[in-house]
């Protein structure tokens, strides 16, 4: 960085530099810490996803290492995505939105920084625990107890900070994103502590465990991610497009249908439990169609007449995320609504739906918010081209992952219904689809790595500029 440029910039940022206590204000330390470490676990998760995906065409690949057998690699991948990326990243974004929408400073930022430590300890121990064979055995809730405790404490720490920040907002009434985030802050500790208590510490008997695990997954992956993701979408989309936010009543409708109906979905139709449980879940899944309709209408309202703009910059991530949310909704309703479609949840289509919801919807909206936040942190250092590239890579990757998986699922369903086709042939018929989905996994890995590099390099560049600036100002003082 040449000295002349630095001097020019010094004036431009001097007002900001005065606000900031040091090089890296503690609120940014908390947020960037959450973003960057979340992105790190995301990269690791997608690397493991690629490994487990390759195992499907060559089962012997890395099969002689117990630590990397398919069952462990797959579990480590999906759980790192959920508890290493989604929870910390989502809470980082929540802090950012609560501060900006309430025009408030981060309260108790130390708790935010503490949560970075706790989340990372949790993710590390969870990863090692699963790989060494300590997985809990409950799909998508596989961190062993000693790792889950850290995730829980991490959330409580950052949740306290988030709740106090919301409390110190300048606006009297809660705005739409704020009430979504408020609900999310107390939703997660409740469901997570229930799951930890009843599945790990004092396990229930028999199938009651499975019901609790399904309940937790629906409340985590649909409701909690819906609260944070939709809240972020309702904040970021109008902001990025420079438009009015969605109408309050419409947003309220989405919010209500999400928490009222989404929280009852989750028990699959094939579950070996008393019939009232899957029946209730099927009813809730049916009715949750109004949620997706509501989101569609709110999205149209926010992006009306700005069709092109809503696919540019940060708005593009939100638009992609909302489309993924709607498609995942269709994928969740089909097995319930279609006649004899209940076995679809046993096929690859189930994974397609989860990936679409977790990565396509929640992940993409988080990416958009992270890029917007980092551009705010370092307006000069953040390149606008990298987010664009990451958007295309991630978007193409998730499409290449989900479409073949859904196709493989339908293929499996049709062939599985015909007892004359041997099971081995049913599996083989999905191989072409799985090969395509490996390409999707590869693209996603590249996109995630790009995000991590972008976050780190931007922050490093901005810090270097700031350091040079402060050094220059000190030198100037000394000279005068």
């Amino acid at each position: 960085m040449s000295a002349s440029v630095t001097v020019v910039k010094t004036e431009a940022v001097s007002s900001k530099a005065e606000e900031a206590a040091g090089l890296l204000p503690v609120e940014w330390l908390a947020m960037l810490g959450l973003f960057i470490t979340a992105a790190f676990w995301l990269v690791l998760s997608s690397g493991l996803a690629l490994v487990s995906s390759i195992k499907f065409h060559s089962p012997a690949f890395l099969a002689d290492t117990a630590w990397l057998t398919y069952g462990r690699a797959r579990a480590a991948s999906s759980n790192l995505l959920l508890y290493g990326f989604c929870v910390p990243g989502g809470m980082g974004v929540a802090l950012w939105i609560l501060m900006r929408s309430g025009r408030a400073a981060l309260q108790l930022p130390v708790m935010g920084v503490l949560s970075v430590l706790l989340f990372n300890l949790g993710a590390l121990m969870g990863l090692l625990g699963i790989l060494r064979g300590d997985a809990s055995g409950h799909v998508d809730f596989e961190f062993p107890g000693y790792a889950a405790a850290f995730v829980f404490l991490g959330f409580v720490a950052v949740g306290v900070s988030a709740a106090l920040t919301l409390h110190s907002r300048r606006n009297a009434d809660l705005s739409v994103p704020q009430w979504h985030l408020l609900a999310s802050v107390f939703w997660f500790p409740w469901i997570y502590s229930t799951a930890v208590l009843l599945l790990l510490l004092m396990p229930l008997r028999g199938m009651a465990q499975a019901v609790v695990s399904w309940w937790f997954s629906a409340n985590f992956q649909l409701v909690w991610m819906g609260l944070v993701g939709l809240g972020a979408a309702f904040y970021l989309l109008p902001k990025a497009l420079g438009r009015e936010p969605a109408s309050r009543n419409l947003a309220l409708f989405c919010f209500w249908s999400l928490i009222l109906f989404g929280s009852w979905t989750g028990v699959p139709q094939t579950a070996s439990v008393p019939a009232w449980l899957p029946a209730l879940s099927a009813a809730a899944t049916f009715v949750s169609a109004v949620l997706y309709l509501g989101v569609l209408v709110a999205w149209r309202e926010m992006a009306r007449g700005a069709c092109r703009e809503s696919w540019r910059g940060a708005a593009a991530f939100v638009s992609f995320g909302l489309s993924a949310f709607l498609i995942s909704g269709i994928l969740s309703i089909v097995p319930v609504a279609a006649e004899r479609g209940e076995l679809l949840s046993f096929t690859w289509a189930g994974l397609a739906r989860t990936q679409l919801l977790v990565y396509g919807f929640f992940g993409m909206i988080l990416f958009g918010c992270m890029h917007a936040a980092i551009a705010e942190f370092a307006p000069d250092a953040a390149s606008p081209r990298v987010p664009r590239a990451q958007f295309w890579l991630a978007g193409l990757g998730i499409a290449l992952l989900v479409l073949p998986l859904a196709g493989a699922g339908v293929m499996q369903l049709v062939k599985m219904r015909n007892p004359d086709i041997a099971f081995v042939d049913v599996s083989k018929s999905t191989l072409h689809f799985l090969r395509l989905s490996t390409m999707g996994d590869l693209l996603i890995l590249v996109a995630n790595a790009l995000l991590l590099v972008h976050l780190i390099s931007t922050v490093a560049k901005a810090l270097r500029v700031k350091a040079v600036e402060s050094l220059a100002s000190v030198m100037a003082e000394v000279k005068s």
Binding site: T69, D173, W179, F186, L198, M207, Q209
Partner: protein
């Protein structure tokens, strides 16, 4: 209007509702479930797994077998078969009855040979009851026979749907969510041979042609043959081991195989009935067993 407390309260109520419905209620209904009785035999079901199989469940959990295998058999409905056990002492009358019920069967010369055998298949309860009445009135001994139906049954994966009782003694419960591999609810019935499972874990494709299961060679020890071959070594030729070496299962592999064998939901229950032969062999075998 202050939204804060309202939103908080609303979200609290919504979550409390689903928590009550899907956590508290099932915890009481399923969590306090007691073993039931098989019908009509009356034997207690289920029985806790033996120690080795219990250890195998931990191996199953640790290696994430549940990522690819379900243990839930789905059932679409039930149909009836009418089984003739005894033709009685009045052959002309019986022949007439069978001619009335199943003309195709009656046209065969050995229609009344090889009893017990099914006279009618895949009929509703009323039709089955009428047929039983007719056959019994003709001097024979006939009984209705309940058969569960669905693609899983056709595949030979089970005789009835899985019910919550099947999992009563499992901790953790791993019903599975994905069928990249076959359902295992009744794998112990299909493959009761422990050594078959050991060979299959070590070299899946050598045992099941075209299998996509990864090999679990780390559950075994491959070593040079000492003074004499170990008694528990796997058959070298079948799993493709070069001469001079042998493969012996580690305790985990044996435990996992024992767990596989213990997976058999073969008791007819009041909530999921199917008929079993008492003494005589089952008249209509399920379709050829497929892996």
């Amino acid at each position: 209007m202050r939204y804060g407390p309202l939103v908080f309260f609303a979200a609290f109520l919504a979550l409390a509702g689903s928590w009550y419905g899907f956590v508290v209620k099932p915890a009481f209904q399923l969590g306090h479930m007691q073993p039931t009785n098989a019908v009509p035999a009356g034997a207690a079901y289920p029985v806790a797994r033996a120690g080795l199989a219990r250890q195998g469940l931990e191996v199953y959990r640790a290696n994430g077998c549940y990522q690819c295998h379900t243990k839930q058999v789905a059932q679409e409905g039930a149909v009836f078969e009418v089984i003739l056990r005894d033709a009685g002492t009045n052959p002309p009358s019986m022949e007439a009855a069978i001619k009335h019920l199943a003309p195709k069967l009656a046209s065969q010369p050995d229609a009344l040979q090889g009893l017990p055998k099914p006279v009618l298949k895949g009929v509703g309860k009323d039709e089955a009851d009428r047929a039983v009445k007719l056959l019994n009135a003709s001097g024979g001994k006939a009984a209705p026979w309940v058969v569960a139906t669905g693609p899983d049954m056709d595949r030979g994966w089970g005789k009835r749907r899985s019910v919550a009782e099947d999992f009563l003694y499992d901790d953790p419960v791993m019903p599975g969510a994905q069928r990249a591999g076959p359902d295992l609810a009744n794998v112990g019935l299909r493959q009761p041979d422990l050594n078959w499972h050991l060979r299959h874990f070590y070299a899946p494709t050598a045992v099941v042609k075209g299998s996509m299961m990864p090999p679990y060679r780390y559950l075994f020890e491959k070593r040079r043959i000492g003074r004499q071959p170990s008694s528990n070594a796997l058959p070298a030729r079948e799993i493709g081991i070069e001469a001079g070496y042998e493969v012996v299962p580690r305790p985990e592999a044996v435990a996992l195989a024992a767990y596989m064998i213990s997976l058999r939901a073969d008791a007819p229950l009041f909530s999921a009935p199917f008929s079993v032969a008492s003494g005589a062999p089952a008249p209509s075998q399920p379709q050829a067993q497929k892996e």
